[in-house]
Symmetry: C2
Subunit: 193 residues, 2 copies
């Protein structure tokens, strides 16, 4: 251990490292969305696919036109469909990304009934529908076909999907360098595209 003659306990660089580590833990919930957005940007720039995030809908109550159409009163609304859709290998793709801090299961309360209805309709029209679920504590990202999640959801027997069901039906996505969450090759394999 190095001694600091001036009585300083830790140099700034060490403090910064500690801070950055805490920040990364705190921001983990944002990680999945950022990973997917980064991957989508990579897919777009490399002409692999066009997949976009639907903006969170906002109910605008009041606009101040005197200040350049500044919105001064508004509320977030629930997404009525899913977060992402687009085109890949001529196929329509539609999916939802969800994170859980639990280690052994994924609570079904994270999925809204209208999202299930939306994905069922997408499937009925021949689209590719899936979930990407992040198990934050396990640092795992699992691709699940929407049909398997819907089957569990409609069975109505349990309030959460066991982690074991994800391991049985889904595909764990290995993190890579660029993009970090390169999920499309797994989609291609799962759906035989």
């Amino acid at each position: 251990m190095v001694n600091y003659p001036n009585g300083q306990k830790k140099p700034d660089s060490v403090k910064k490292q500690v801070k950055a580590k805490n920040l990364s833990a705190a921001n983990r919930g944002m990680g999945l969305e950022k990973f997917i957005n980064d991957a989508n940007l990579y897919y777009s720039e490399n002409n692999i696919a066009v997949i976009t995030k639907r903006p969170t809908p906002i109910n605008v109550v009041k606009i101040n036109y005197a200040r350049g159409a500044q919105i001064t009163n508004a509320y977030f609304e629930k997404q009525s469909t899913t977060d992402y859709n687009g085109i890949y290998l001529s196929k329509y793709l539609d999916f939802e990304a969800k994170s859980t801090k639990l280690k052994t299961s994924f609570p079904l309360s994270n999925i809204y009934p209208h999202q299930i209805e939306h994905l069922k309709k997408v499937l009925s029209h021949g689209g590719i529908a899936f979930f990407i679920v992040e198990f934050i504590s396990l640092n795992e990202y699992i691709l699940m076909a929407a049909k398997d999640v819907i089957a569990f959801y409609e069975e109505g027997l349990r309030k959460s999907i066991p982690y074991a069901y994800f391991k049985e039906k889904g595909k764990a996505i290995s993190l890579t360098f660029n993009p970090i969450l390169n999920y499309l090759p797994y989609v291609k394999e799962m759906f035989n595209l």
Copy 2:
């Protein structure tokens, strides 16, 4: 003409009628969006297609959490892609809806360069891409393949697309009862789906 003995010039009901008429003229720009949203709802409910509007992205600057996550400062952002996408007959659809008050042409300044880039990418992946253009003064709604708009845009010779070009390349959509703007049969015919 009826006389009002108390000196009142117009009864309230007449005033209201005049006001409502002006409002309807002022709101004409909203007509196309409402027609398309209504058609999309009809398509969803009748299991014909799943087509959704991307919410207008909003840049949220300030949130008051003490008042139930009220947004107190935010601004509208430009849509970075197009307004609508979805799935129809197993095909990925992507389109933009635009209105103009002009009678003889459609100004290209209504279309943003990133929308053209987005539609080109969609086409390169095998998607169906188009515009629905409303000529407000003519009460006409014209379906145009994105490739024809892109060709004109990239030629770079004129600042607006002549109405005659729309009549030559596009398909005029006849308004019906329910949905009013039943555009999908025209899409089916134009793209041989």
